[in-house]
Symmetry: C2
Subunit: 397 residues, 2 copies
């Protein structure tokens, strides 16, 4: 059957394929999935929050009532009733979002890929926070932009620093709520300033918002898309409020852009599974998230507080960290001389994992930073792991 | 809430976004979904073949037994037991496929996008059949290749015509079984010649095989990947043998390439839904497809024969067409002077739809060709629609 003596292929990859690197986080995750390791490295939501029974009932219902439709090819833009539900949930008194502005995506990671594909040429300037979400840097990198970092301080992105790097920027990518990796949120004032600055400079502003509804206290902040619907691209996801494994997200964009994104999606994967969208619509349409999300908030808030308390007890005073009011991450700044990669080597030997901060920087990585996630680790293991980290840091001083 | 007087964005899209066009087929499909239209335009499998109860039972079982795992993030390369099952199904006596060579994708359309992303630079030469699958042309176009068409005759792709266009080619894209759009299949002899030619020229050969198991008679043909596993990239899909709406396909590639594709997929959408993969594995692992696929073959074979009989009765003798031995499509060649687009205008007015052939050509479209699908239309409507088309064609002569 086999042919004789084929010439071996000398694989010639595209120039963009040379940009491809495995996410450092996903590499660490492979090591840290062993149960004997206390892992603060994950970006995974807690499976304790997955509404399995509810999902099961919805699959049963959708397949029983509309199985042939749910299992057939569907429209590229998505399942219309779900797009309507999302448009309604994003609309405010002063600002109406149309269902036509919503494109369903295979997780919000796909929205990042599509935005890169449609907005970025080789060398195009893309503005990002310092640090920023690693998955976004990865997705955009494929299209070979010139990343320019926008300054951040302890309150997050500093809008007044945008002008200096704005020239020719194709977009500014931001995570205003409980940012990954820092856990920081922008104040209402900063949001307005950010939206106004981008509007003045006519730079499309991306508002990536997977964690927005996971605030531990008080009401969620207003969305920037409501402040300037013609200039802000909003990205949402069901991964952190329902379940990530179904891969369902969406992007809300001004009409000229969303039609381009839709064409790019058609070429990329035709459409996102119809069944998944119908099931999620079935689950969310009657207000389930209103009762479900508070249970996630409570769990994460308690574990966050537990980690903050343990850090206060065990970390040397020269270490500082963010105190998130929602979301899944705490950001730690070590004394200048400590390299988080070196700390990781030691901590892995002591069976504790985290993610070093350097990969989250598009430019000038701060090697003395790291990200901790508390959401999948029970309190006693959080205390144990933080005590070990504290001892290791003290030993490196 | 809204800011005052934002500057309007002058959307500046990437150069590749300018290549994006909506699939002509998807545009026609929007028109032809009305129930009063007899549509031969679709590329959709018949929903009569979807094993809805079986899928429902599998969703129930997977969510009951492993809900938390199925709903969590998963590995980029895919669900290991399903990759093993696929590798086994592709392995032959003389040629073993490793699970590591399988990358699960969000439909096989995504494999096309990833192949373009990883193998094609602007201006890279990509070889395609004449005509070829429109979705592949669309997916590759995004990366701005130079398409070169390889000759075909009534037996499909002509391997001896490859040398003339081979120089610097990054890949040759082929559909050897019941090709979309022509319905043609390559003989065993041509397959060997194609594999040998590509091996001699060291051109990666893509074997896209969504329809391979839908042969109406006899055993499926040997796969080209078994003839040269180091030089052939095989693409498979569950869309035509199970259901398309779940968006599950895969690519089998030599290890250096599959690792690059995996990195590209990680940046594009992290991974394909874990739940979907577990459910499909649950459905297929005990041989279900062996009993299920023959029922699809029977349905499609009967409807194909019905259409062929009707064409013989109603089409003028100056019209010729393929006689597929499997798959979903018949390819029609009209007399030179008839433009299939003009015929479409008339036939839509008479409530019959099809897809003109021109968009399937990367170069030099043959405007007197068209594609007919028989799989979703019941026999009496097939006869009715073909009679109408025959009358319209006769009127144009």
């Amino acid at each position: 059957m086999k042919i004789d003596n084929p010439n071996p292929i000398q694989w010639q990859f595209s120039e963009r394929a040379a940009q491809l690197q495995s996410s450092f986080i996903r590499e660490i995750l492979k090591i840290t999935q062993r149960p004997d390791i206390i892992s603060f490295a994950g970006g995974l939501p807690s499976p304790a929050t997955f509404p399995v029974e509810r999902m099961k009932a919805a699959y049963d219902k959708v397949l029983s009532e509309a199985g042939k439709v749910a299992l057939q090819y569907g429209p590229t833009d998505g399942y219309a009733p779900l797009r309507e539900w999302i448009a309604n949930s994003l609309s405010t008194e002063g600002s109406t979002i149309l269902p036509e502005q919503i494109l369903m995506t295979s997780g919000s990671q796909q929205a990042l890929d599509l935005l890169g594909k449609v907005l970025v040429d080789e060398g195009s300037r893309v503005l990002v926070e310092t640090p920023s979400y690693l998955g976004a840097l990865q997705a955009f990198s494929v299209y070979r932009p010139e990343f320019k970092s926008v300054d951040t301080d302890e309150h997050g992105l500093v809008p007044s620093s945008i002008d200096a790097v704005a020239k020719g920027a194709r977009m500014l990518y931001s995570l205003p709520n409980f940012q990954n990796p820092t856990g920081r949120s922008l104040s209402l004032e900063r949001r307005r300033e950010l939206v106004e600055t981008c509007a003045r400079l006519a730079i499309p502003l991306i508002e990536d918002d997977p964690y927005g509804s996971l605030s531990y206290r008080g009401e969620p902040m207003p969305k920037m898309v409501a402040m300037n619907p013609d200039g802000v691209i909003y990205m949402g996801s069901f991964s952190k409020v329902l379940t990530p494994g179904i891969r369902l997200g969406y992007v809300c964009a001004p009409l000229p852009l969303v039609r381009r994104l839709e064409l790019a999606k058609q070429a990329a994967d035709l459409h996102t599974a119809q069944l998944t969208q119908m099931v999620v619509h079935e689950v969310v349409k009657d207000g389930f998230l209103d009762e479900h999300i508070p249970t996630i908030r409570k769990l994460y808030s308690d574990q966050c507080q537990c980690m903050l308390d343990a850090m206060k007890e065990h970390f040397p005073t020269s270490v500082s960290w963010t105190e998130p009011e929602g979301g899944m991450f705490i950001w730690v700044t070590l004394p200048q001389q400590i390299d988080a990669m070196k700390l990781l080597e030691q901590s892995l030997a002591a069976k504790v994992a985290f993610v070093p901060g350097a990969p989250f920087y598009a430019n000038d990585p701060a090697s003395n930073t790291l990200r901790l996630s508390f959401v999948t680790v029970p309190p006693e293991r959080i205390r144990e792991g933080i005590a070990i980290l504290g001892k290791l840091i003290a030993g490196m001083l």
